[in-house]
């Protein structure tokens, strides 16, 4: 302790960085799949994967906030469906008016004027609905003392039910969508899909929020020891609530991305998606008991799942690649999670050895 540590470049120390380890695994995965099918490692396909994973990353960022405070949210796919459906119905109703008006004014074809409620308003609406769902979840968990799994399991049922009620039993198809909504996830800027830019924006905002703001650090404090956090003057309930609201807002936005990407909004949209998002967080090193996890890790975890999903299709193990993808996805995710545990255990052992414990 007497000698100040001398800073020398130590490759071993660099390798101990968890995020770097994960990115090496990711690179190895890309390389291996690329060896088998060179088309996989092409710039085009990698960009495609990034765009495909953007929605999962947006959701995983929110899920990370919720997991950090020691909570969990399994209702996010339902929130995505409800917020996209609400915005979709508004869009559909306003769209038909616009068409009728244009026809009355003597437009040659109605398709030329597929305009509806402005996109920013729709996004705001979806985010608002998402925030409302997050608020209810958060209230149930923080003030109602309902366990997170039970609360969000129940609200998942309820929110899907609401989405059904809002939809009136019908889906919103491409013909019901305004042109700017359809193009929302199709445009590209500097070679990257607009989904990627939205994801990057969300990533940067949350990075600053979680790493540099007082409230962001409180998420870690509450998750690592709620009682200590309470005694040091943090309003634990309000922090938990805010994490759920953030998750809700991001789920609402992700729902819009998902809907625009799919060109279709159904009442049971994205069912089961929450499982991938939680898996992405766990691979990215977020602890399910709360208090630890890094935002870069979460993005890498989601990318790993994205690469696996896309890779399983590209590998063409047999004639029917979709078949294999469906069949071995679970095994691959399990292997990824368990590998992660071994890396973590090795890391902890090394830390203990350094402290001579």
């Amino acid at each position: 302790m007497s000698k100040p540590p001398v800073k020398v470049f130590n490759p071993g120390r660099l390798l101990r960085n968890r995020e770097l380890g994960l990115s090496l695994v990711l690179l190895a995965l890309v390389g291996l799949i690329g060896l088998r099918n060179p088309a996989f490692a092409s710039i085009n396909n990698l960009q495609f994967i990034l765009g495909d994973t953007a929605i999962m990353i947006v959701l995983a960022l929110g899920m990370m906030c919720v997991l950090l405070v020691g909570s969990i949210d399994i209702s996010i796919s339902a929130v995505m469906a409800l917020s996209a459906m609400t915005a979709g119905i508004v869009m559909k109703n306003n769209l038909s008016q616009a068409e009728a008006q244009a026809l009355a004014e003597g437009a040659v074809s109605a398709a030329a004027v597929k305009v509806s409620t402005p996109l920013p308003l729709l996004l705001l609406l979806a985010a608002g609905v998402g925030a409302g769902c997050g608020l209810v979840n958060g209230l149930l968990i923080s003030y109602g003392r309902v366990l997170p799994i039970v609360a969000t399991l129940g609200s998942q049922y309820i929110i899907y039910g609401l989405s059904h009620l809002v939809s009136g039993g019908q889906a919103v198809y491409r013909k019901d969508m305004s042109e700017d909504f359809i193009q929302f996830t199709r445009g590209s800027f500097l070679g990257f899909n607009s989904k990627v830019w939205i994801m990057l924006a969300a990533f940067l905002v949350l990075l600053v929020f979680i790493t540099y703001t007082r409230h962001g650090r409180r998420l870690y404090a509450v998750g690592s020891n709620a009682e200590a956090a309470r005694l040091s003057g943090i309003n634990v309930r309000a922090v938990t609530l805010s994490a759920h609201v953030i998750m809700g807002i991001l789920a609402g936005l992700a729902g819009m991305l998902y809907a625009s990407h799919d060109n279709k909004i159904t009442q049971d949209m994205a069912m089961g998606y929450e499982m991938y998002v939680i898996a992405a967080c766990v691979i990215g090193g977020v602890s399910v008991t709360g208090g630890s996890g890094k935002i870069l890790g979460v993005a890498l975890g989601a990318l790993t799942i994205g690469v696996i999903n896309n890779g399983l299709t590209m590998l063409r193990l047999t004639g029917n690649s979709e078949f294999w993808k469906k069949a071995i996805q679970g095994a691959v995710i399990l292997v990824a999670i368990i590998t992660n545990v071994y890396i973590q255990r090795g890391h902890e052992r090394r830390v203990l050895r350094e402290r001579r414990l």
Binding site: I72, L140, G144, R145, V146, L147, I149, V150, A151, L153, G154, S155, Q156, Y157, I158, Y160, G161, L162, H164, L165, Q267, M275, I278, A279, V282, S287, V288, T289, F323, K326, A327, I328, Q329, G330, A331, I333, L334, I337, I338, V341, Q344
Partner: protein, 340 residues
């Protein structure tokens, strides 16, 4: 808590009374609205659809929940076990049916055992995460075995008598599968609540470290609970298949959430140490009465799920709010006494 609810004897404060009252309320409410279609006899008939397969899965889930763990993969386990049975029997051209059933039970137990081993081997991953991935894995295996096909052609006693048969009992036509489920309950109750083996489960769920230090083999207990859960899931799949008559790999999708809902409604907590067999039975009855009534009135699966979710949250939330209120009153009273 004692100050407000203290006037009521302890055994009357149990969750079971609330559930029993709700069962009666739901039954008579729907009975008043649909006097012809919603009768006790018709409800009894519908227990095949709403009660039996979920009931078996919930019995297994209860064990895992008491330990403070959770198993998302039960429905997938049921699907895989039923798939194995269907493929082994191959409509009468494969193995004998009893051997196929045995294989099915073994598959269920093996799935449960695999979950249990992963859970005790990788303690830093949570049972939820592990069973989340094994869920996809088990369904994936069922998909590899069956692809998009379905397997059927089961013997008549299974697909007809067990699936739709009834026994005349006390002037009622009681579905055979319901009878089997109900027969299990008393034994299950005695085992879980009145034997040392059952109490150990509660001990391990309440405080796993304390239990280990007082000499319980907590890992073995966990393994047993997950194994039994897999077995019960297979039995649930068995009855589900007898009702549908054939197996597909998608069979029973979403049943894991229903099983969890039933167990939690019946008084189990996902943080462990709590759970009750009578409560589970009442919760099962409540959901059956509610689902059947809602199906008659609205014929809409989404409305049905919405009300199940609402019920689940309310039954957990309301006692919590009462105890929070009681806590606040107690604090106020103590402050008053201190001020004096």
């Amino acid at each position: 808590m004692a100050s407000v609810t203290g006037k009521i004897p302890a055994f009357l404060r149990r969750r079971e009374w609330l559930l029993a009252a709700l069962v009666l309320l739901v039954f008579f409410w729907f009975n008043a609205r649909e006097p012809d279609n919603y009768t006790f006899f018709k409800l009894l008939n519908q227990t095949r659809v709403y009660m039996v397969d979920v009931g078996f899965m919930a019995l297994g889930m209860l064990l895992v929940l008491i330990l403070g763990d959770i198993d998302i993969s039960v429905a997938a386990t049921a699907a895989l076990s039923a798939t194995v049975m269907g493929v082994a029997y191959r409509g009468g051209q494969g193995l004998p049916f009893w051997l196929s059933i045995l294989l099915m039970l073994l598959t269920g137990a093996a799935c449960g055992l695999a979950n249990g081993l992963l859970v005790i081997r990788f303690k830093e991953l949570f049972p939820m995460i592990i069973t989340l991935s094994t869920q996809t894995l088990y369904r994936g295996i069922a998909y590899i075995i069956l692809k998009d096909q379905s397997a059927g052609g089961f013997p008549a006693w299974y697909a007809k008598d067990l699936g739709y048969g009834s026994l005349p009992l006390l002037g009622l036509d009681v579905p055979i599968m319901l009878l089997i489920l109900l027969l299990i309950f008393p034994f299950y109750y005695l085992w879980l609540h009145r034997t040392a083996a059952g109490r150990r489960l509660f001990a391990a769920g309440t405080n796993i470290t304390a239990s280990r230090y007082s000499g319980l083999h907590t890992d073995r207990i966990k393994l047993t609970a997950f194994l039994l859960n897999g077995l019960f899931a297979a039995i649930g799949g068995f009855f589900l298949t007898s009702r549908t008559g054939s197996v597909k790999y998608t069979i029973g999708t979403g049943f894991e959430m229903q099983a969890i809902a039933v167990a939690v409604l019946g008084g189990a907590s996902t943080s462990g140490g709590r759970g009750s067999v009578p409560g589970l039975l009442l919760a099962l009855l409540l959901l059956t009465a509610l689902k059947n009534g809602l199906m008659l009135l609205y014929n809409d699966a989404f409305i049905l799920n919405l009300s199940v979710g609402l019920l689940l949250i309310l039954v957990v939330l309301i006692p919590n709010l009462f105890s929070a209120l009681a806590d606040r009153r107690r604090v106020l009273r103590q402050r008053l006494q201190l001020a004096k």
